[in-house]
């Protein structure tokens, strides 16, 4: 039986974060970008809970903070999806390559 310690959680979080970052940077589909963003946020949540559990036992501030992040990420996802729908109506596409109207 493997002994699970702080480092395992941290490695999991880094892996999850990197996968999410890669998804955000490299996906062409806007839905996938939003999903990858959620991965990154959850990687941070794992970090927070792990640190709280191993290093800061006398209170639950890390876990409370992760709850906040979940709430914010839900709000962020809804705003993001709303923007996405508006963009989709305009361009009839979910391709990130098409969303370049900010070009100078």
């Amino acid at each position: 039986m493997l002994d699970v310690g702080l480092y395992h959680y941290l490695i999991l979080a880094v892996a999850l974060f990197s996968i999410g970052l890669y998804g955000v940077l490299a996906s062409r589909n806007a839905i996938r970008v939003l999903m990858s963003l959620e991965l990154m946020l959850n990687a941070v949540n794992i970090n927070l809970v792990a640190f709280n559990n191993y290093l800061h036992l006398h209170d639950l501030s890390g876990q409370v903070f992760s709850i906040f992040i979940l709430t914010v990420s839900a709000a962020e996802a809804s705003v993001g999806l709303a923007v996405l729908i508006a963009l989709f109506r305009r361009t009839h596409s979910a391709d990130m390559e098409q969303y370049s109207i900010l070009q100078g």
Binding site: L25, M96, Y99, S100, L102, Q103, G104
Partner: protein
């Protein structure tokens, strides 16, 4: 913030004196009434307009008289009295406005108001037919305001403002007949020549202020460039910057009088200014405004006439002396009666400036005063002749006018005798003092002054004989001018005859003499009380008689000598004189050849080099922009990538730092 800051004076009469600024305000009110009301109601009638302006000048005169009566009582105690208010604060400096009175200022106030009033009466007859009658009177009032305010100015800053104001009035009045191209260009010429001088004056004032900055700083310090403090400031300037800088600043300021008083080499505008109506030539270009230059020299005396200022004084004396003789030689050959009188004015102004340069303060100002009367009268008489001969100015088409215009002829004769300096008349007393001053200071200038007196006698009697004696050579019937024009002439004849011996202190001993009334501030080589130098008097009388005899021989009806003999005998000299020493040609050469060449070269430089550099910088910005524009592609993901890469770099750097 207004706090009265009296220069001198704590007497009860101060209240009366402090209203003296009103002297300048009456003409300004008259100007405003006519300028803004000339199309309405009863102001449209010409007598009303003329009456308003004449009345304003009379008010100024009476007010001056009233103030003088109060001032007379304290004249021995406080020769200079004034009151100033802070106008601007610039750092630790403060500029003041206000008024200042001293005997010299009073003399100017009297001359300006008296001559102005008489000329404004005369103008009614001369300009009656003119469609722009009202505008002319409005300008006259504006000029009067500027000139009186210039005289009252307590510091150089305020004086400079009104100095420019009289310049503007002069410009407006020279170009009064705007439809004549010659009048318009003469006005522009007067303005430009004065601009050269006034630029020198401005640079002089600015450098004076800059170099004596510390002297004027502080609340207790006198107002910037105020006349009572000028002597101390000049000593400061001399002490801290030496004689060379001192002389340069002084001469820069002197450039103002050089242009305003038509001295060499900035004199060419004055003869052309005769394009203006004759009352203007009499008022501005003979009696008052051109004398403002001499007045400024008088106000600058604490600076010029201090130990170390000898260089400035020498330059002033020589400029005046050379102007006197050069203008007199040109006047010999003129056929236009007004041009001859204009060169005569220039020559007499040369005398005044020379006197100032020789340290003969009272003599120069005395000549200013007598000249103002008799030259205004001569110009008005010439205007009467021009009026009577139906706008003919060429003396070759006049002659014999003594019969048709007796009053004008007699008055002109009085003026001629006065300007030549024959014994009892006013010109003698003032000119004799100048010649005597030259005799005791500079032998060469003495010869110039005496020679010019001879030339003056010749050309003035030449104009008299050509105009009033012999046969009439014109085409139209000549007639005497109406009373409104002849009366001012007769009134001006009185001071032209009498003011000299009244104020010379030689015959009338119970009246204070001019030399005791008007004394130079901080005069270091002070002149003793006037006593007649018989050598000088005899010599100049002989020379004047010689000039008269020559004019009589050549131009009187007897025709003892033919002028053509001399014209052909001294051809090169005559050509030089009749072409005004080629000053105008010299200036147009400068303008056309030198200036235009420089302008073309700099135009090429501007187009090729400056524009090229500007174009190059624009091109390089454009190029780099189109390169950099590629970075902003509008894709959020690529921005994010750069952000992440930056973050990684930063983390790597921090890690390396931490590991070390």
């Amino acid at each position: 913030m207004i706090e009265p800051n009296s220069l001198v004076g704590n007497s009860v009469q101060f209240e009366t004196l402090s209203n003296v600024w009103m002297v300048a305000i009456y003409p300004l009110i008259a100007f405003a009434i006519i300028m803004f009301g000339r199309w309405q109601g009863f102001l449209k009638t010409k007598p009303v307009t003329a009456a308003i302006v004449v009345l304003s000048t009379l008010m100024s005169f009476l007010h001056t008289l009233g103030v003088f009566n109060v001032y007379k009582e304290i004249i021995g105690i406080t020769p200079t009295i004034g009151e100033t208010f802070h106008w601007l604060h610039v750092g630790a400096l403060h500029m003041d406005v206000g008024w200042m009175l001293d005997p010299t200022g009073f003399m100017m106030l009297f001359v300006v108001t008296v001559v102005s009033a008489l000329i404004q009466v005369y103008t009614y007859g001369y300009m009656e037919e003119d469609p722009n009658f009202h505008r002319f009177y409005a300008y006259l009032a504006l000029f009067n305001f500027s000139m009186l305010a210039l005289v009252l100015a307590p510091n150089l800053v305020q004086m400079y403002m009104f100095w420019e104001m009289v310049g503007v009035s002069s410009y407006l009045l020279i170009g009064f007949w705007v439809s004549r191209p010659s009048a318009a260009s003469a006005a522009v010429k007067a303005f430009l020549m004065n601009r050269v001088g006034d630029f020198g004056l401005l640079v002089g004032l600015l450098s004076f202020t800059f170099l004596t900055w510390a002297f004027w700083s502080g609340d207790a310090a006198p107002g910037l460039l105020s006349f009572p403090a000028l002597g101390k400031a000049s000593e400061y300037l001399m002490l801290h910057h030496g004689t060379a800088i001192f002389s340069i600043v002084g001469l820069l300021i002197f450039l103002g009088p050089v242009a305003k008083s038509a001295q060499l080499p900035l004199h060419t505008w004055l003869p052309d200014a005769m394009e203006g109506p004759t009352p203007i030539s009499a008022l501005i270009h003979a009696a008052t405004m051109v004398a403002a230059g001499v007045f400024l020299i008088a106000r600058m005396y604490p600076m010029y006439n201090m130990p170390g200022g000898e260089m400035i004084m020498t330059v002033i004396a020589w400029v005046g002396g050379l102007t006197a003789v050069v203008a007199a030689t040109i006047a010999l050959t003129q056929f236009d009666i007004k041009k001859a009188l204009a060169y005569s004015t220039m020559s007499q102004l040369g005398y005044m400036v020379m006197a100032m340069g020789l340290g003969a303060y009272a003599a120069g100002l005395f000549h200013l005063m007598t000249h103002a009367f008799f030259k205004a009268m001569l110009f008005l008489a010439s205007g009467s002749v021009i009026h009577g001969c139906h706008h003919e100015q060429d003396m070759r088409r006049m002659g014999g006018l003594h019969k048709t215009m007796p009053i004008t002829a007699w008055v002109y004769l009085i003026g001629t005798i006065a300007i030549t300096g024959v014994l009892p008349f006013s010109g003698f007393w003032s000119k004799d003092e100048i010649v005597a001053a030259a005799f005791s200071h500079q032998t060469l200038l003495y010869y110039i002054a005496v020679g010019t007196a001879g030339l003056t006698a010749f050309y003035m009697f030449r104009t008299y004989f050509m105009t009033f004696t012999g046969q009439y050579r014109g085409h139209h019937e000549a007639h005497e001018s109406p009373l409104v024009m002849t009366l001012p002439l007769i009134l001006l004849a009185i001071p032209s005859i009498g003011i000299g011996w009244l104020l010379s202190g030689f015959f009338v001993t119970d009246f204070p003499s001019f030399a005791t009334l008007i004394t130079a501030p901080a005069s270091f080589h002070h002149h003793a009380a006037h006593h007649i130098n018989w050598t000088v008097l005899g010599t100049s009388m002989v020379v004047v008689m010689g000039g008269f005899a020559a004019a009589f021989a050549m131009y009187s009806p007897m025709r003892l000598l033919d002028p053509a003999l001399f014209v052909n005998g001294a051809k090169p000299l005559y050509t030089l004189f009749s072409n005004k020493w080629y000053w105008d040609e010299f200036y147009s050469f400068i303008a056309r050849q030198v200036y235009l060449t420089v302008a073309q070269v700099s135009a090429w430089f501007d187009k090729a080099v400056i524009d090229g550099l500007v174009g190059l910088s624009a091109f390089s910005v454009n190029m780099s922009a189109s390169g950099l524009r590629q970075l902003q592609n509008g894709r959020v993901q690529s921005y994010l990538l750069v952000f992440v890469l930056g973050l990684l770099l930063l983390s790597a750097y921090t890690a390396v730092q931490w590991l070390n």
